[in-house]
């Protein structure tokens, strides 16, 4: 299933969209697969499965610790495709993969795209790959009909917002605030500006807001001006605190606010 169709269907139905992140291999591959499936069962619309990486410069401590634990437990890159295959066979939601660029570059961009497509994955979110450096990925994602989600930031120029929006497929990832992943009290001020810049530069493109969103109220507020809210660290922290039941409860809590 394509991400764009899911967001479009929600919009047509007047429903908010929740995009949920969970790191692969945390605390084990099998448990991360169960966690991802559970998130969709509780109402997450789009999954973002994170590939653990040794140098996650865009991530705060919660996700650093979880992905570090996954690597220490022996996570291997090829397990990404096993996990995507199993998750996408069990849930009716687009499964995106969030990965830093070097693992993809070493695996081979074309081969990664081909294997991701074969596994039923929807596409990639690439936090440290800007469109300027993405020629190989643009070609591979076109060839394999994959979503590609670039980021836009509060500091991005209008020209850069336009490029990232035009080249993104699925949605554009609007970085809500200057900073790394993690829960924050306040996300709205800068996020509204980023979303409105995307709307202006690329009126047809969907925009989801991420970084710092951890509560039902924040997710609801973001959906009032964007096409979706992305939640990551709050889900990982719930799992760290209380395993699968706590994760399910956290997803339910956010979804209940969105569906009011």
């Amino acid at each position: 299933m394509k991400t764009q169709d899911t967001i479009a269907a929600n919009r047509a139905a007047g429903t908010d969209t929740l995009i949920g992140y969970f790191p692969l291999g945390y605390p084990s591959l099998a448990e991360s697969i169960e966690a991802a499936v559970a998130m969709v069962e509780e109402g997450v619309d789009v999954l973002e499965l994170g590939v653990p990486y040794s140098d996650p410069v865009m991530d705060g401590l919660v996700i650093q610790e979880a992905t570090g634990e996954a690597l220490a437990a022996g996570f291997k890159l090829r397990q990404t495709f096993d996990a995507v295959r199993e998750v996408s066979s069990r849930v009716d939601a687009p499964v995106l993969v969030m990965t830093y660029w070097n693992p993809v570059a070493q695996y081979g961009v074309e081969k990664f795209a081909s294997d991701l497509q074969a596994a039923g994955g929807a596409g990639l979110i690439t936090p440290d790959l800007i469109p300027d450096e993405a020629a190989e990925w643009l070609a591979a994602s076109d060839a394999h009909d994959l979503d590609r989600v670039f980021l836009v930031a509060p500091t991005s120029s209008g020209e850069r917002v336009k490029t990232a929006s035009d080249l993104s497929r699925g949605f554009v990832y609007a970085v809500s605030t200057m900073g790394i992943t993690g829960e924050r009290q306040e996300v709205d001020t800068l996020a509204r500006g980023v979303v409105s810049s995307v709307r202006q530069q690329a009126p047809e493109q969907f925009t989801a807001v991420g970084i710092g969103i951890s509560t039902s109220e924040q997710a609801k507020a973001v959906n009032s001006y964007a096409d979706g809210a992305i939640v990551g660290s709050a889900f990982v922290r719930a799992y760290q605190d209380g395993g699968l039941p706590a994760l399910r409860s956290k997803v339910r809590d956010i979804v209940s606010g969105l569906r009011k």
Partner: protein, 400 residues
């Protein structure tokens, strides 16, 4: 191979670029524009030159070391004495340049990463001189092996943050500095200390350090009347090496040698010999050689020298290696420490452990270069900061 000197980023062949979060692009663009404007502004050029004359102590001298050279064989050895710069290493060249740029950009806070502490000390020094706030990220492992430098930075008014993630060394200090920068980019300049990282850092940091080679080349010609047959330097991220290489890139008669840390040895997997054993990949914002596993996860490097203990290297070195213009070889901890001891005993100059890798390389070159060859070495730093490590290594502390 003409005009290698004219190469500028973002790309050095297939290396370099900008592999960073979009949030940093505006700051990198601002830095690039500010640097380009400053480079063309005689006021800036004069201000930096005056600082170097009256504060750094430039030009640094060249010392011919005959007793040390005799140990290497039938060669002459010349040291470019960057150890005599204020703060004790070449790092000040880049730091003063970037601190001036930070002021031009209206930034009030600088952050820096440091391994051995030399760049952290230099950054803290510039922050004190220019009245800027300064935070230095340093791997927890390095804060222990370089405790005196931590105290120096604190005395200079900087906050030193021990980094407890990952391998707790230089690589992780850079990660943490990048996270800080993404968060505080409006007020903060990231004063990156080596020729790695996203464009414009590799080009800009090289330019600030090229004063080393420019001076040395002119000094060799004016004081000795010839160019050296070889130029040697240690390579971690590669800033002191590119600084002395750059002036000689288009002198085809001059061979260039970079010496990487081989840690426990080139036949072990505990080393930091990125250009010898790494593969091209993306780390800290640029494509370059790096130590990594088949999944693209960065591998931990190993070296007795904190400043060379880094699994990446600047993109221009990767380019020069693939062109065959520079040769890169490994020097083990034991070889470096022996060279440190020998230079101290024969010349009364105690080099930094990083620099000792280049000196060990020269001892080997003496056996293979034609008789009568002359080698210019970048004596990039002094060994004061390494006294505890050296005293322990040589059993001079009594209780160990």
């Amino acid at each position: 191979m003409a005009n290698l000197r004219d190469q500028v980023g973002p790309y050095f062949g297939e290396f370099g670029g900008r592999f960073v979060p979009e949030s940093l692009i505006a700051a990198l663009d601002q830095l690039d524009a500010t640097y380009q404007a400053a480079k063309a502004d005689p006021t800036f050029v004069a201000e930096l030159a005056e600082l170097h004359r009256t504060y750094t102590g430039r030009p640094s001298i060249i010392t011919e070391v005959k007793r040390f050279a005799a140990l290497a064989g039938d060669i002459r050895v010349f040291l470019k004495r960057e150890d005599l710069n204020h703060t004790g290493s070449h790092k000040i060249n880049n730091v003063l340049g970037q601190a001036l740029l930070a002021k031009r950009m209206g930034k009030t806070r600088i952050i820096a990463e440091t391994g051995a502490g030399q760049h952290g000390v230099a950054s803290a020094t510039a922050a004190a001189l220019f009245g800027l706030d300064c935070v230095v990220y340093m791997g927890e492992v390095d804060t222990q092996r370089q405790a005196l430098n931590v105290a120096r930075m604190q005395l200079l008014g900087a906050e030193v943050v021990p980094v407890k993630t990952g391998s707790r060394t230089l690589k992780d200090a850079i990660n943490e500095a990048l996270r800080d920068w993404v968060t505080n980019v409006e007020t903060t300049h990231y004063l990156l200390g080596t020729v790695a990282g996203p464009h414009p850092f590799p080009t800009m940091v090289r330019d600030f350090h090229s004063v080393i080679g420019n001076e040395a080349r002119a000094q060799m010609l004016s004081e000795y009347g010839f160019l050296p047959d070889a130029v040697a330097a240690c390579v971690g991220g590669g800033s002191n090496a590119i600084g002395i290489f750059h002036a000689f890139l288009d002198d085809e008669s001059v061979r260039l040698f970079g010496f990487e840390a081989a840690g426990d040895g080139m036949d072990t997997d505990r080393h930091a010999a990125t250009l010898n054993y790494g593969k091209p990949g993306v780390l800290h914002g640029a494509r370059s050689y790096m130590l990594q596993d088949e999944d693209g996860q960065t591998l931990e490097s190993h070296s007795i020298s904190a400043g060379l203990d880094y699994p990446g290297v600047g993109p221009e070195h990767s380019w020069l290696k693939d062109l065959g213009r520079s040769e890169y070889r490994g020097i083990s901890d034991a070889e470096a420490m022996e060279a440190l001891r020998l230079l101290s005993r024969t010349e009364g100059i105690i080099p930094a452990i990083e620099t000792a890798h280049a000196l060990a390389g020269v001892l080997k070159l003496g056996k293979e270069l034609p008789a009568g060859s002359s080698v210019l070495v970048n004596l990039s730093g002094r060994g004061d900061k390494d006294m505890e490590t050296a005293a322990r290594y040589f059993g001079l502390l009594g209780t160990d």
